[in-house]
Amino acid sequence: MDTLQVLTYLVWLVASVTFIIALKFLASPKTARTGNLLGAAGMALVVAWTFFTSPGMLENWWIVIVGGAVGSVAGFLGAKRVAMTAMPQMVAIFNGAGGGAAAVVAIAEYLEFADHGDGLLPLPFVIATLLGAVIGSVALTGSVVAFGKLQGIVTSRPYMLPGQQMITGAMFLALFVIGVYIVGFENSIPLFLVFCVIALAAGVVLTMPIGGADMPVVVSLLNSYTGIAVAASGFVLGNYALLIAGTLVGASGAILTQLMTKAMNRSLFNVLFAGFGTGGGAVAAGAEGEEQLREINAEDVAVLMAYGKRVIIVPGYGMAVAQAQGPVRELMDLLIAKGVDVQFAIHPVAGRMPGHMNVLLAEANVPYDRLKEMDEINDDFADTDVALVIGANDVVNPSAREEGSPISGMPILNVDAAQNIVVLKRGRGTGFAGIPNPLFSNEKTAMLFGDAKPSIEALVAGVKQA
């Protein structure tokens, strides 16, 4: 092993350590941004080192330059242009790109060595290559479907093929049989390619039946998958930077997925195979349509709040859709100036991704210490004058407390304990779980219909005059 190789290992080690520190720092608000920058620095180091020291790069440098330029521009513009509400989609696309790259690398590895190899390839090598190919492919197409569902291009309803279970079963069987054949009997490039195509199809078939509301969980899971595919690739290439980075992401993504399903009080199995946020929705929405809901106008709500002692604001997906966070912040400032105690109650799965509300409210410069997590604030609703629900639905749905509802058992915000409840939404639409919400017909509840942004602006005007 020459000095250059030894240095390569040390570069990998340094990069791996920056990745570890990056993840660690990302787990705390104070250090998160530094952590991200550190991770980027480690990445730059290992990329530059690989470029300048890999034998063969002298000839094919243009591939890296051209590919790098195209990828950089695409990635940079995508990341800079995307709206805050569309971030989960963007993460899905970037993850798909990573999964695709891992699959491509696995294919290239296989081609390379199937050409040179006489007879069977070493077992661990073939297994890892197949693993990288199948997982990377699933991550690629799965992420694309997730993107489509979040973006509204593909139906966000769970979509089942006729004979879905049969098809899924057949695919897994085929993957398994081809895999065993390649590992144990014969190298075959065509069969390998068939293997990859089936895996790509599997990514679609597995993701389509999952409801749009569950996509963030799916994106997190696919993120973990890509990590595993990258680790497999690192194993094959004997590259410890890939091995460690991939494993780190594989493991942390798995935990994160679990934390997310836990916050929704569901199991991962249930998310993946029991499509909720579905059919029931339409029916239920119809049923709710019958009830009489008490309406209120913005001026009355403004007075109610301005002369109250404590107001708790409960933001949900509707606030994100309406981009109402700026006016909400203004409303908060006005109320505080009038001596009202204003807090935000943040449900762990409000919106469409974990931390969605925090990100939006931080964007509007709402101070951290006014954002309370569910457990922290749930007891405070009882002595609250007004609970202002802005485009939230499922996270305040009391039917979660009863048996037999699709969201039974999910912890919810105790909005119904407040003196007055005001709900801002456009109409009688259901939340993403697609089920009716008895809170709206609660006698303490008044509805302020309309898009959240103009509604809040009306409240701001009202409070100014009050």
Binding site: V91, A108, L111, N239, I346, D369
Partner: protein, 104 residues
């Protein structure tokens, strides 16, 4: 391909330890940082671009060159997009000027 048994076993040790590190590091994250963390981790696995570069370095013939190019493009999108979008998310978390430093 000269993966000796020793190399494989070393890789296995590294894999297990890295998995424990990944698990431990993330198990303490507050809910509001779930998305940036997911996004940051997503950027980290963009290191696959290094694998694509190695493919490029040894690429011969049109098929492999196309694969290498594709791999580098996809990997770079993952890396660049991942870190930039994470930074954008985190930028939103910064305090406004008037705030006390110590809070949260």
């Amino acid at each position: 391909m000269e993966l000796s048994a020793f190399e494989l076993l070393s890789a296995l040790f590294i894999l297990v330890l890295a998995a424990v590190v990944g698990y431990e590091v993330v198990s303490k994250v507050p809910t509001m940082l779930h998305t940036p963390l997911m996004s940051g981790a997503n950027a980290v696995h963009g290191v696959i671009v290094v694998g694509a570069m190695l493919v490029a370095a040894s690429a011969e013939g049109p098929v492999r060159i196309v694969l290498a190019l594709l791999g580098v493009i996809l990997g770079t999108i993952n890396v660049v997009g991942g870190f930039v979008v994470t930074d954008r998310m985190l930028e939103m978390f910064k305090r406004r000027p008037g705030d006390q430093p110590g809070e949260r």
